[in-house]
Symmetry: D4
Subunit: 250 residues, 8 copies
């Protein structure tokens, strides 16, 4: 029985006046008034990971947060953007597996996939793999079957042809590319599922830290493509998982 | 029976040699070889609209394209980005309904919605409505139930509270905002469905033609948001419809 | 007696159960729960203007909004960013005074100033005057004594010297300048009050639509300066008025 | 009795001629002519800090400046933007307390707050805390009561609700956020006091070193917000303190 | 016999002294000294067009220039970037054929193609056609066989397949595309000839007047692509013609 | 005898006290204290023009300003950036000669040149001529002998060779170019006098309104070049005239 | 005999049905269907190098790739963008010559030049040499005679004159320059062959990492120039080699 | 007697034919033909420094260049942009004095000043001093009397007043400032000599590496200001010296 329920009960019992009840209700935080379901999509069902954004946190801060979450009974935790030094520090003290390439740390077992289909993670080049691993691992820990196609290239049409079946059967595609970012546009010519494009900061010169790929992906002539921030593998996987877990609402 | 099937039949019947068959197959366009399903997501089922991008087309060009599509039996056609003059010209000659605000022209009847739930189209201000109408009408013609919430604002928290139920029950949200584009970020704090954010060119000064909203939406601290091009209501609706029609793939 | 008060009274009277009360409260919009004071700074005391943002509204829309506000008893209304055509249309139908230069429309009488001191509106050049008038009139209608110094220049030190007393005695200064925007920096060397800097889009070439002035004002080496959007005279006046009406809070 | 007073006295006493007086006056620096009050807002009352900008100064330079100020009787000194190495060097030689996170060094006792109310320093994330500490400590040393709310987030509406009372009762709010910078916009929907927004360089990809937050804050649809330079916690606190010490001027 | 030859002859004949000869030579313009072949690639062989850049020239200026060239015996003249009004003015007074779409004016007969092969002009969309016509007509008048493929698209792989033979047999390809400019990258995956990419200003929002296509084309992952200025169909054709007329040099 | 002189005389005469003198002096504007020579470089000697910046001034404003200056005895006046409509309006009412191309208006006779040598105004193309005329006429009215070389080009080395003597003998060169702005760099390879470079907004595509020329000129590898704002012919001429009138100072 | 040939033979022999043949063909990768000539320009004739892009590859990855290529019989291999550490690692284990300045690694013998003429590699300064060496070595290994002119400068016209013969007789010119990038424009005034311009990131301040040179080269007033990415010596050489190997196609 | 003189003498003597003379002359580099005075401004009179740009040169390269120049009899040499490591290396082997702050190395004695007056080098802050020292030392070695005013500030009007006499009597002013760059604008309000403005990369946040100061200085409302590249102290001094050595030309 939460705070507002107590207040109403006390009012109903005549223990407090209407004015006192009104005052109490005004002082309650929103969630106690019944908006708790607002956050329900983040609520921790058993086996579903809680996500911690690890960047710009000291190693002590991250350790503390993870310990608190584990103490609160959270069985699966995903922490992103962890610097190697911080990752090593935490991995020595907690049962966290840390991958320096994708800068992800995971605690607990990866859940069984329960989505509508497969999330296909494709990169244009090998240098995009760390962002792709951030996306792929995140998607797996959010309950998706994931298939990786790395270094597909767009300058070699044969490569695409070789993977056409995967592209055609995917539930959602995460297209990850730096440089000119044409991968998303090219895939969209074949696929019939939503594509989340992730520009990466890979490249030099006029790629301007991912700007070329970002603008290219945003202005893609192909329908069915939306874009997340440069290098944001996590964000792409988060939305891809939402899409792959769509269900009847009406 | 398509061209390659004929070739193989002829080879099987001994009418042509292996070399002749090989030569014929090499000369065939890709689709005749069996990749026709590549384009299956655009194939015209009865009642599903074909989409024409109307910008930078002369009125004669657009009229010709639409006439050809109608002659080919296409019953529902959606044409986007039509300038008013072109729209009026076509509307006088074809049974196309044209809306100058959203610059959309539609031919045929809007199909009954058959998606998983409701596509919620939200704008931050009244000036964003033309982009929103492009999105909403597109979504409707792609078979989605659409609910519009216009001029919600983010500076008036009460307004959001008033529409909380719609936000919480939506299947996909299209969040349309110019200026600082905070709408997507704020909605993502409440919603548990994918949000497609559409920055608009509405604003002045440091909005730099939508750049402020675009960057803001891309770097949103909230998960579950992806972004399309500035003012691209059509693109947002196209992907929203894909998401709202997700189905079991595995 | 608002909705929640009615609900609590009914509960207190035993007319509804605790569960029914809880359900009703959850469904109420936020303001009825007691957060109405959130918006109190916009609440209409007699004589204090309500502000309407007029840009991108049709003339019919603006007329309708203003009529509704007048019907609701609002005596003083300020409408900003009204295009001349829209302004003329409305001014013919309502007792609104419209100034094409500042694009402001005002209905009702300007309130007597009740602030801590004088809001000083300074421009670097004559071309900045429309933005300055938007600021000055807004500040007046928000209850401030306003003094205007236009075309002060920064390349003529004598001009500044001539107005030093005004600068030294102001309560808040709104410094409006295009081109290189040095006005804010120069004034801050003399003034001992907060300065709200407004970059304007006046200029050509490397002023890039106000970008030069904006960056210059943001990186000003002088303390006590904050900045609003390019050409945003209204926003500067709004905050200046807040500052000029500061009161003991503790 | 300053230089010009002496000159006039000598002229009055017939000790020098009018021409000699004129010559002397012309050679005097401005302040001796009576413009000393120009700088009065920086004048050192006992207990009010003098501020030194420490960036790009060598450790010897900073040490020398601080020693000179202490020798001149300045009891409270605030030095900003001190690199850790320089800070450690000075802290070994002077009674300066140095905080590496905010890069602030303070000498002397913090004055008792004497402002109109509380300066509320809010950050969107934990990574913004160093900028916030620069702001908060500066505000405290300028005589303000300061309340800190760190890592409020805007993607978790409950968090804001939990701090609503602080937001509603603040005298001035310093809103510090990187990434998309929506914090200022969201707070402005609730607060009725001036908000100084500080974009931070926290973020990656399309945040472009704070540009996304800067543009977002400048184009905020909410009134009552002004902006300072990226990461400029000191500047925000300086103006916030000015606002919190407003007094009757007319 | 040019000026320097005369000078040397006079010196040889003893008519002038060494010093006089030296002085005369110093005063001669460069071309008379023997550097005339510097400009040989622009020298007018019969039938080869001279090119006039028509932008920002008044109609009287352009008319005068063309008349002077015709009077000088130039039989084929190509004038680019002519505004319609100027084009109409000149076309009434000279035998110039003017095409408003490509803004090209041509005088004289198009020469027979004498290049190594075919210059293939490809556009991604129909809106790119004016730039393509500028390129194609320029190439024709510079003596190239030209083949046009307009509105190829990159989102429809079949379209490319249909034109594969043209792509594979071209001598040089001019790839013209706005929006995300992926056309150049995609073509480079198939072609084995040089590709000159022309970004166009076609697009909206984040295409930023052709910037997206420009950056995308510059950072293309495919080899064999170089880029000219946005909308510069003439420049692409000029270099393509040079390439198509390569000859043994060693 | 100016105000401060009067004050000191009165004090010397015992008519006022030291305190009264001090008060009077404090209230005087700076120039009366003896800083009048600060502005001496703008002081109007007979025949030297006063300059009025005409942009963003209404025709009535400009007419009024010019009338006031003429009434004050100013014989030569130069007004820049006058829109054609304003120029025509003023030219009908005052003896002002107005040139629509350069947007300059001049009143009075051009003074005889009295500088050290010739100011050479060079443009890369014909489209740069309006900016060049603004520069050339300004320089003439500031007392300089001016030589114009228009449409020199940098792609035709012979053209430069033809004008080498002018380049080598100039006192100051104003180099005006749009597009890639290489003119300044090329001239600096030959000239041995200061070069003021003026980027122009002439160009298209990646010239981005003069940005390409501006950056190119700023980063020129040649010494002796400085740059003014895009299209700022007046500013270049003003500084060129200062340089051409240098005199012994020590 | 490749896969599709086998399928057709089996069909012809009655071993499989038409339907089975169709199914098999659909599943084959594109190249087996006969599009193998698509990639013919990369096919390894004896002595022609295969190119590996070495950036962002680990030393183990690069070693593995090169070993696989050598095992496959590739006699000449060119690897670009290899970091020194990776280069040293590989050079110890394979017969690869590594040049830290150009970051190129080469395996096998450089082929004899077989192009139409000489590829001239010119740099504006000495700092551009690493990019030039990447270009020059690449061109040599692609079968071109290469001549290097380094540190030509554009501010010293004599230097250009000294190399005029090389410029006039080149088959293709690769013009490499940072800062203001005027080299390409200046060379184009003399040369009558295609120029591939390479902007470099050399410079400081307003060169913005090569942006100034890039924009300058793109907007060059000279015809015959196209541009590749900043610092992309390899790409320039690749296209230059294509041009230098042009052959009769019709 | 140079090469062309010899050729003409031989022709005059009948030793060679006119055709042989013509051929020889064509082959001579430009300077031998009599254009040597083109470079006269760089010609080394005794005591005038030759300038070497030291950036991106290896220590061996710089040592070699300097040794060659000394061997050629150059008595005074100025080398700019030398990295500390390179500077130390050279200073151990040659009599070069190296200053790590300004990165300048000087060989030989500074010449006596012979200009028209004093070059005043002013900085806004202490952090701008390295750029200022590069400018000041360069100016001294080019024969100018230099006066330095460092850390003048623009937010303290008294500071400017204190140095007014220097400002008013300078021959040329080099105004060096980062952040908002208002120094140039403010000085131009007082000075009556040319001002060369040097934006510096000092600053943070919205100064964007000097962009804010650059744009501000370019758009300065004050006449008489021109601008050089960010941090280009050398370039400013070079042109300032040219201006300070102006002489009668006509």
């Amino acid at each position: 029985m939460n705070a507002i329920h107590q207040t109403l009960t006390a009012l109903s019992a005549g223990e407090i006046s209407v004015e006192e009840a009104l005052l109490k209700i005004r002082k309650e935080p929103l969630e106690s008034i019944g908006y708790a379901n607002i956050d329900s999509h983040r609520a921790a069902r058993q086996g579903v990971p809680e996500v911690v954004y690890g960047a710009n946190k000291t190693k002590e801060q991250l350790l503390g947060i993870l310990r608190a979450m584990m103490a609160a009974g959270q069985e699966v935790i995903l922490a992103t953007h962890i610097d190697p030094e911080v990752g090593a520090f935490v991995a020595e003290r907690l049962p966290m597996r840390y991958d320096p390439a994708s800068r992800l740390g995971v605690i607990g077992e990866c859940p069984a996939p329960d989505g509508l289909g497969t999330v296909l993670v494709v990169t244009a080049g090998t240098a995009d793999i760390p962002v792709a691993e951030e996306a792929a691992t995140t998607a797996e820990y959010l309950g998706n079957r994931v298939k990786r196609i790395y270094d597909l290239g767009v300058s070699t049409p044969q490569a695409l042809a070789r993977h056409l079946e995967d592209v055609l059967s995917a539930s959602v595609i995460i297209a990850i590319a730096g440089m000119e970012g044409a991968l998303a546009c090219v895939l969209a010519g074949y696929a019939d599922c939503p594509i989340i494009a992730v520009p990466t900061s890979i490249g030099y010169g006029a790629s301007f830290g991912g700007l070329a790929a970002l603008l290219s992906m945003l202005t893609s002539c192909s329908s069915g493509v939306s874009v997340v921030n440069i290098d944001n593998g996590f964000g792409a996987a988060y939305q891809a998982s939402m899409i792959n877990h769509m269900r009847k609402r009406d």
